[in-house]
């Protein structure tokens, strides 16, 4: 039995296999449309995340499977005080695989300890969100043709942005990766990422404040949202939220084959005048998110 709790639960070769299978789906999205016939995915969402939940459910439906579950804690047994362990014991007998989202860190790991079906972490607080990381990797691999020898800029909230931390950790496993970390000083990446990942692996990186000055170096620009709830007061939020807005004028400074990624939803950090630029791939990225989840479901159910 294999569960996916953290992005590094897959070895590099397992990850390669997952991305290869995902690319097969990109080429022919209907290729596996009946493979999960008679199988059920339980989506256990203890907090609402419509985008992620629909992505998982679309993935299972694309494979010919069925879905069941709940989309917030108050519509679930958790509202009556049932433990994650008990819920998963019961769900294990209803479904073949489950995706669990929970506001508390480690809840999916707890579930995996009591589950007889594969558990996929669909986000546990600010901790892990492995399928987002796999989506990001697939987008880069498919559109760039490689995961090595890339200069990747991360822009925005690098302090609290879990997708950034996970993707840096995942990309650090590949060779000749350079990072350019673009953020206000209040939102720089945490020390443990700098020390335990970047410095420990001798990875080249720079930290800068301005986006424009580094645009021309980037192969990938990963934009993030500055979340209102991260700030103690509204004034700080207002002061910082517009610091890094990507618009079509800034895009003229970038390489012709640079890609812009964003985990979505965006607020205003990418101006809508960038959307039609062929280098803006964030909507494609969301589509690849469904494909990589299809591949993951097939792998975990050992159907391929």
């Amino acid at each position: 039995m294999k569960h996916i709790i953290s992005p590094t639960d897959l070895s590099l070769s397992e990850l390669d296999e997952l991305l290869d299978l995902s690319e097969e789906i990109i080429e022919d999205p209907s290729k596996y449309s009946e493979i999960c016939h008679g199988k059920k995915l339980a989506s256990l969402f203890y907090e609402p995340s419509t985008r992620t939940r629909l992505s998982f459910e679309a993935a299972m439906l694309n494979l010919g499977g069925n879905i069941l579950g709940f989309s917030s804690a108050d519509s679930s047994s958790a509202a009556k005080g049932e433990s994650v362990a008990d819920t998963i014991r019961v769900i294990s007998s209803y479904a073949d695989i489950c995706a669990i989202r929970h506001p508390k860190e480690g809840a999916p790991l707890v579930a995996s300890h009591h589950s007889s079906i594969p558990v996929i972490n669909a986000g546990d607080g600010g901790h892990n969100h492995p399928t987002q990381t796999f989506t990001d990797l697939l987008t880069i691999k498919h559109l760039k043709g490689r995961l090595q020898e890339l200069t990747i800029g991360f822009c925005g909230d690098l302090k609290f942005g879990r997708t950034v931390h996970s993707l840096i950790t995942a990309l650090a496993r590949y060779s000749n990766i350079k990072f350019i970390l673009i953020s206000p000083k209040e939102l720089k990446i945490p020390d443990y990422i700098r020390e335990e990942i970047l410095d420990a692996k001798g990875i080249s990186y720079v930290e800068v404040r301005g986006l424009e000055e580094v645009m021309s170096y980037l192969d990938i620009l990963y934009m993030t949202r500055v979340q209102r709830e991260r700030f103690f007061n509204e004034a700080d939020y207002v002061r910082l939220k517009d610091t890094y807005v990507l618009d079509s004028r800034k895009m003229t400074l970038a390489k012709e084959d640079m890609l812009v990624l964003h985990p979505l939803p965006r607020v205003n950090e990418i101006s809508t005048d960038v959307d039609d630029d062929p280098r803006a791939v964030y909507f494609k990225q969301a589509q690849y998110g469904v494909y990589v989840r299809m591949a993951l479901i097939m792998k975990l159910l050992k159907l391929v």
Partner: protein, 142 residues
Amino acid sequence: MLNIGVLREGIVIDHIKAGGAMKIYSYLNLENVDNSVAIIKNARSNKMGKKDIIKIEGNLGDINLDVLGVLDHRITINIIEDGVIKVKKNLELPDTVENVLLCKNPRCITSIEQSIPHIFHLTDKDNGMYRCIYCEQEHEKR
């Protein structure tokens, strides 16, 4: 220098980080034993500058002293018999401890579900660093 001459039979818990003796004292539940116990605070140490020491007369029965290394990885333990050091042991840090350290991260699932065991994993042997397996928060040594 630590004078062990006064102790014929007993346990000397040495090289406790200065200020840490009371935590060890309460972990071992020493307030509830009949043994005579001496706590030495801020003893001078060449290695550490200052340190705490606990001396316990007699024995404590069946107790796993290795766990003390989890609370403070520099601790050494001397078992005294007939007035001499019988065993001088460095503590072996266990890879995993259950319900010894408690996760205090309010975002951790253990903060809302009481029945989940608090499990910590040794992630850095040299520094004796343990992380909660659920939220990966490191255990704060005081």
